[in-house]
Symmetry: D2
Subunit: 337 residues, 4 copies
């Protein structure tokens, strides 16, 4: 249920409501909007609850949430969620661009990448320090050393750091260095990991699993939201289909579809979504035209020497041109990047 508080309800009134909801054995999520505050009451439904809450003085109305994802739904919160870290702003009309190499490889590489993507307009720096790799024998990332290099790149450029965390017991360590915690596609339904990042106050970039339905995707986000962390960004990165000419199939219709159902911002990853560098720029522009709240793009100073994902990484020049096109499309549609 959504308990809509009357306009101008005091923080104390909201806290009293939380107490009442918890006394009923339900979980309370306070969602503060610009217009009014609502409290989502989540849990097993019992007779009479709604009437009881509705009768409280400071309550305007109580409405059920029909979607299986509760806190993520537009029913719970109509205003778009906006997340910010340093200059990176995603959601609510703002288009945030995150770019950088697949993996952090060396100080030189990550600093060069950071400067190049910053110059082209990115506000976030991606780079993997802990790398989930299909083979146990492939390069697994520089680990904590990689995190330190990312932090140095932030110091040098002011970019917000976006990096993956793979397992609950790394969350604390990654939080020391990162501004945005990335949950990779393979871990979209690693529920203990979702809960662990849900307990932090970091922005979480949640990648869609390659065969996840929209409902499974939103319910994975709900695992994070349910722990109290409301700064979740959804990332469409392509799905696995019979198509083999691209690495994955990138279904951009998921952007407007999700926007009709959730207040969470949605970014697109055309690098994994296609796997082919030459297809990335047109798909960046198409993502913006489809209404995406941001992009996450693989860029490497020298893709041919990348330790991972070279085939889908843009050169800094190609990225710069792609950003230019995106800015034009955004401007044409009345948005800014």
């Amino acid at each position: 249920m959504i308990v809509v508080m009357k306009k101008g309800s005091s923080p104390e009134a909201v806290q009293r409501m939380v107490g009442r909801i918890e006394a009923m054995g339900l979980k309370a999520h306070v969602i503060i909007g610009t217009e009014r505050t609502v409290v989502a009451a989540i849990g097993e439904k019992r007779d009479g609850e709604r009437e009881t809450l509705e009768s409280c003085e400071e309550v305007e109305k109580v409405v059920p949430i029909l979607a299986p994802y509760k806190v993520a739904s537009l029913e719970a919160k109509r205003e778009p969620t906006v997340v910010e870290a340093l200059d990176l702003k995603i959601g609510g009309g703002a288009i945030g661009v995150i770019a950088g190499p697949c993996s952090v490889e060396s100080e030189e590489q990550i600093l060069a990448s950071a400067r190049q993507v910053r110059a082209a307009g990115a506000k976030g720096l991606r780079g993997g320090a802990f790398k989930p790799r299909t083979s146990p024998y492939a390069f697994q990332g520089l680990k904590e050393e990689g995190l330190k290099l990312l932090a140095a790149a932030r110091d040098a450029t002011g970019l917000a750091i976006v990096t993956e965390v793979m397992t609950p017991h790394h969350v604390e360590l990654v939080c020391e260095y990162a501004d945005v915690l990335q949950i990779g596609a393979r871990n979209m339904q690693n529920y203990h990991l979702l809960q662990a990042v849900g307990e932090t106050d970091k922005i979480v970039l949640l990648k869609r699993g390659p065969s996840a339905t929209m409902e499974e995707f939103l319910l994975a986000a709900e695992y994070i939201l349910d722990q109290g962390n409301q700064r979740v960004v959804l990332c469409e990165r392509g799905v696995r289909t019979f198509e083999t000419h691209t690495r994955f199939t990138l279904p951009l219709a998921s952007v407007p579809y999700l926007q009709e159902r959730t207040h969470l911002p949605i970014v697109v990853d055309p690098s994994h979504g296609t796997g082919i560098a030459s297809l990335v720029p047109p798909m960046c522009a198409a993502s913006i035209a489809a209404g995406a709240d941001g992009l996450i793009v693989e860029v490497h100073p020298d893709p041919s020497r990348a330790m991972s994902d070279g085939a889908q990484s843009l050169t800094p020049d190609a990225f710069s041109q792609a950003m230019e096109q995106c800015r034009k499309v955004a401007a044409a549609l009345g948005r800014t990047m």
Copy 2:
């Protein structure tokens, strides 16, 4: 092989080359470009052929075609193919928009549709007279009566008529009324039908089958080209995947992917590609941003009363707004609609 003729080769020289190629047991396709003429020689490869042809006086060079699709490949023809019928122009930078109802239902309905989509900027009118329907008990179209109504709509509005032909023995009849023959997704590999439309001089709009690979799609086009009809337009209309929240999954990356391999124009059908009217406008804009040469969109004067595909049909107003957005995106990217 591609036999590239010297600049300024006379038509007689080209005809002599055709004769030589045919004498070798190969099929010759003359492809006239703005810069020079090439003759594609298709057939089983034998030793010495290339050298023999290369030694002819009017030949500049002979190069092999590596792609399995020959006449469709960029190797055979680097300049984009442009097709035109009345005011409808698709390819070579020109963005052509085709719109209208799923089925022709009545004179009133098709004339209203035609006027409305024309006003919004469409240059082609779609409308099914012969309808392939999953169930034998569903409405199968008005058949020849529907064709006549389409022709009347063309007379009234100047729109080029795009309508489906389902079987070889209807080709002649449909050609009497239509400007563009549509091959539906279910018939993408109906090879006798492809050959039959390949023998006409009409533009053919070839829809991608819902589980066709890019190579199968281009080879289906090749069946048409191989009969001598070079006015083929490819149409991406979505593929069948595990996703069920949309009717099909619309992979826009196929637009730039195809453009790297073929000179044929590529249009997108976001109506079938999503199956949900509210998702069509953002996907129209995204298609243009991805580089599509055109759109084919379902529009109905009153979608709630449509005899087929109502859920994915735009109202005339929604279509008009979508076109406005598309024009802005096209202009931003230096293209015109």
Copy 3:
């Protein structure tokens, strides 16, 4: 609706019922069972029809058909359909095996194949004379010459001939030579072709399209049944998925799923379903264990020299061993082959 006639209704009574149904503007399909006769009345539902028919003296009851496929449904006919041609018998407990090369290549090849598969227990001979090929430049079959060789193989061995027909205007020709008309997977929704074979009295083997749902598959069968031909065999031959280690993904659960919904027999094609010869024998045995009414298997005297589908063709020896395993599984489950 299904009009269930009283036990022992005379042919005249059945004919009177057909007349009544047609007078209502409905289509009548007489389905003669061993126990009783029913008449399926197909068409737009109107008030009062059921009551009118139910009041006829020779009628036991009238029941609606809920499935979208009518004549194909178990509601219309509970007894399994059994088809027979020469010694080939499929359905109703009988397991029929069809085997032979992908394409008819020469008299020697098809006669050798026929003798070998007959010796191993097959009762039908497959072999393509008209070949639908992805590329217009690939071998398209021996055409009528191939049909004649098939007929000669029937004369020599007594095997029933199963061969593909690709387009309506070939139906008459193929009927002259074949016992079973095969509709290929690419043509599962080529509705004019389905109607054309529905007008013949030949058994039709309808292959599932690689992305067809069960409902689309049964509705394609319904197109044939609706023309009056009730001798339809469904063929599961694998679907297109993200899996690339096999040519297609073979979902054997479709066998019992279909058997819960239709009286039509279901055969499995493990050759196309896997695309790899070594996987064919275990999938033959698995098909029988899953309850299939038959198999269609590619066998070639010398797979390494096959003009098409060599990788998935069994040698005669391998086929013979596979049949031996299948007979054991069938016997264990109380069935015979």
Copy 4:
């Protein structure tokens, strides 16, 4: 590389070889076969290594492993791996059956289930104590209390306990109670979890992810093997495709395909693979016919009251009949259950 030791090499000689391999910076896996012992040397390849090892006295030969999965490959070990826990034996011709409810719900439910599946021939008891659920609001299992009930069921019946572990920090706890650790489909690429169970001495049942390729599946197994735990069982449980009439699409061809590449046993889960109870028995029989080394089947004393997966759970009676059919198929093919 695989270092094949001479017949009759002493344990000391094997240990010396391990030392040599590790001194080269490679990882050594000792694989003891009935005929001879091999040592797999895994790591970055450098010149001269192979020659150096081959020159050792106790070495018969050194061969490269071409497959990307090394220890899992048939190249590393030709003999099938057999795993055993109590009476449960899987692999090497032995067919092991695991059955039981989706979730442990109560002492009464799990004990009844255990007795019923034991009576029908199962040797392992499945039951979820920690449940990965799509929604954070769904029943998440009885947790440690569930593990205790499972252990009690083992005490009462002698069945080996198979239960899921979801996150690395639960591994120790689950190991206290379980005989077989299950890695669920959602966690197939949760690499830290794979490594954690790889450090135990328990049998690991690794479920295939719903969009995992065969190579990804085997490489996930390799993560476990690489930690030294060689008791891994692969489980095919269906993949996600466009098919919606079943919960997943169950591709039984993966059984023989995997058996051509790995020595690890393969079991099939027809309950998740179909999602429909009536389809489970025929798919059990088909799995055995396809060569599976075992089955894992959901059985519930009263499926209509199950807290999860009721639609796909067999009643004890249906399971008992299904086992009877499986035994007949196994016997027909010369195998025992």
